[in-house]
Amino acid sequence: MTTSSAQDRAELLHKLGLDTQNKGPIGRVITTGNIEQAKEHEDGTMHVRLRINPDEIAWDPAVIVMPHGGDLEIEIFNDDLNTHCALFPSNGDRKFIWLVNHSRGRAKLNLDGPGYYWFSSPTGNDEGRGLTGAIVVLGDVPPEARLDRPEQPRP
């Protein structure tokens, strides 16, 4: 069976059990969950809420999208009945937080440019079971960092 469209893909993920625990594979295939765009405050900082729902062993959202590089504040909720943690990318050092059952915390990150970065719960094999997510930074590098040449084709 193959898939050819986004709608088909979501249905197929569910039908094959790739988007839940212990149905298709043992865990959940990473980043098969929700996607959410971070909200931007007037001062340019961005904000998003991140949850671990009961028995999903996955991030919700699994993909966080920042409209541009800068500072991101994350509110984290562990609604699961097990203990997890979070390790986020950030300039200076990676940010770590321990998340016991039914806890909430926060993280302040700085990500400076376009591309995507992984975050995870680095305990046991949370990462392989599904607690690996992505932070996508949109936008371009500053104008002064771009090559002096005519616009070039992209894929």
């Binding site: 986020f88 050092d93 990500l111 440019g113 376009p114 995507y116 995870s120 930074v137 500053p142």
Partner: protein
């Protein structure tokens, strides 16, 4: 009933959980341009990438010497390891050249890591981690070749083409400038060079059809001082070597992805430039393609090109000329020695770029030949679509980026050599930003290869050769103890007699070498330190070792404490 959440607080720096963090003494505060100019008068330190501006990778230290080197062993090992999903997870490598200032070591790793260590014990003092996008374009692995230090700061580039200044005492960022476009396929791996009040860096991305450049930034403020493009725009000097129509120049390559050398008397930076793009399809870029594959002399103040010498005009073999330009004097002349990927050793007058001599330094060269007076005649190259062509040396070159050394005491150059070929089959493709732009399918030989460290005099005469069954893919280090240190892809770290090439000592480090060892002393004890961690572009320079294990160890060797000096 609603149950209140447990307050988990705010996420903290992961390094706070390492048990090893602190503040370094202010040893870098007084590292000035003047001190770096005279770096070899401080043999206890390794203040700049090559040990000195001349690129010789020579240390006056002689406590460890031919008589006692068999007694050295590991004094300490620093290991970072890798965790989580990182860019180039299968290609990261430990390629740096550690710097040492008055007992403190500054070294960079892959994926945006910079560490300060106690050079006597290997204990971590602080760490900096730049967040690296997982999806950046990396032709040749997630690697970084080292840092620079001056005026209380540590300078490094990041895989996503930033240059950053860190507080040398704390590792906290002071300034951060973006100098490359990751959406265009640019990245950065070079060790910065401090010159006067500037930090000079180059860009990577020649396999993605970018336009290579060299940039200078103010040490204090991070303000951009100048940019020197290595492919001219239409109408600029050198543009006549590119097709007059179309945009081949705009995608022409010539990246400065390795650290240059500097002569304060000529006020010139000597920079080697990378391959033209597309690497193997020359038909879309007729002409010599200046200033690709060239030794380029750049005025340090203005960033203007003063002269150039092109080692491989119209390259279709991926023969970057990025290798170091070693500055030396002979018979009263100010010269420059350069071992090129194309298999030839060039000696040039560094005041004007005039050719002095050319000699082949590897046994097998059949891509073409270069006469003593510099005439280049190509022989084997991928010029027909779909037609495989085998040639020597392969695209990693007879010497890759890893550095030669020069001893002013023996007046010999010591060169790590890769004797391996490859087959390229031209496959034309359209250019699209951030997509690899090679113009060929390439397969490097996994059989019939060899390597050696050779000693050459300035006339190109080979004085001795130490043979290895695998190509030699790591920088060598020469010392006044008449030693040459050279690591192998299979993990051995060797000490050779600089006068004869005799193997005097060997230690198996557990992973292949693809880095630049340095030497220093603390409290009168000499150390030789080598980053060990196989990886990088192994499919390009030694695919026969693609299955070898990665590593991430920094190993410092010394004589046992209390050993009397000679």
């Amino acid at each position: 009933m609603t149950v209140e959440y447990v307050d988990a607080g705010e996420a903290i720096d992961q390094g706070d959980l390492s048990g090893k963090h602190g503040t370094a003494p202010p040893v870098v505060e007084n590292v000035t341009y003047e001190r770096i100019l005279d770096a070899r008068s401080e043999p206890q330190n390794w203040l700049t990438y090559y040990g000195a501006y001349n690129g010789q990778r020579f240390s006056p230290l002689d406590q460890i010497n031919t008589e006692n080197v068999k007694g050295i062993g590991p004094a300490w090992i620093f290991q970072s390891g890798t965790s989580g999903m990182i860019a180039g997870a299968s290609t990261y490598a430990f390629e740096a050249s550690p710097l040492v200032v008055d007992g403190i070591m500054y070294v960079s790793g892959w994926d945006g890591w910079v560490w300060a260590l106690d050079a006597k014990t290997g204990t971590e003092i602080w760490r900096y981690k730049h967040a690296t996008p997982f999806d950046i374009s990396l032709c040749c692995g997630n690697v970084n070749r080292g840092v620079a230090v001056a005026k209380g700061k540590v300078f490094s580039v990041t895989p996503n083409a930033h240059v950053i200044a860190l507080d040398a005492a704390t590792g906290k960022k002071i300034w951060d400038k973006t100098y490359g476009d990751v959406r265009a396929g640019e990245s950065a791996t070079v060790a910065p060079l401090v010159v006067k009040n500037m930090v000079v860096v180059g860009s990577s991305g020649g396999e993605f059809g970018v336009r290579g450049h060299l940039d200078a930034f103010d040490l204090d403020s991070g303000e951009h001082v100048w940019r020197c493009y290595m492919v001219p725009k239409p109408g600029e000097p050198g543009s006549e070597t590119w097709p007059s129509d179309g945009q081949a120049w705009a995608r022409g390559g010539a990246n400065c992805w390795l650290t240059g050398t500097f002569d304060p008397e000529t006020n010139l930076l000597y920079i080697g430039t990378g391959n033209p793009a597309p690497d193997f399809d020359g038909e879309v870029r007729e002409g010599d393609n200046l200033f690709t594959d060239s030794i380029v002399a750049v005025d340090a103040d203005s960033g203007q090109i003063r002269w150039h010498y092109q080692c491989t005009p119209h390259d279709v073999w991926d023969y970057d000329s990025i290798s170091e330009c070693i500055l030396f004097e002979s018979e009263g002349r100010k010269l420059l020695g350069h071992f090129d990927k194309n298999g030839y050793f060039f000696v040039v007058d560094r005041t004007n770029g005039e050719l002095v001599q050319i000699t082949p330094f590897v046994d097998r060269i059949d891509w073409g030949n270069i006469t003593r007076d510099g005439k280049v005649t190509p022989a084997r190259y991928p010029d027909k679509e779909g037609d495989p062509v085998h040639f020597y040396p392969g695209p990693a070159g007879a010497k890759e980026w890893t550095h030669a050394a020069y001893s002013p005491e023996t007046e010999l150059f010591y060169v790590p050599i890769q004797d391996v070929g490859a087959t390229a089959t031209r496959r034309r493709r359209e250019f699209k930003e951030s997509i690899p732009y090679w113009g060929a399918g390439v397969q490097v030989d996994i059989e019939d290869m060899t390597g050696y460290v050779s000693a050459f005099d300035a006339n190109g005469e080979e004085k001795w050769r130490w043979r290895n069954n695998l190509p030699m893919c790591a920088s060598v280090l020469a010392t006044a103890g008449n030693l040459v240190f050279a690591g192998t892809p299979s993990g051995e770290f060797n000490a050779l007699d600089a006068r004869t090439g005799e193997l005097l000592w060997q230690f198996q480090c557990g992973s292949g070498h693809h880095s630049s060892p340095t030497t220093y002393s603390v409290d009168g004890r000499q150390f030789v330190v080598v980053p060990v961690g196989w990886g990088g572009w192994a499919e390009g320079f030694l695919p026969g070792m693609l299955g070898a294990g990665h590593g991430s160890a920094l190993i410092a060797f010394a004589l046992p404490e209390g050993t009397p000096s000679r």
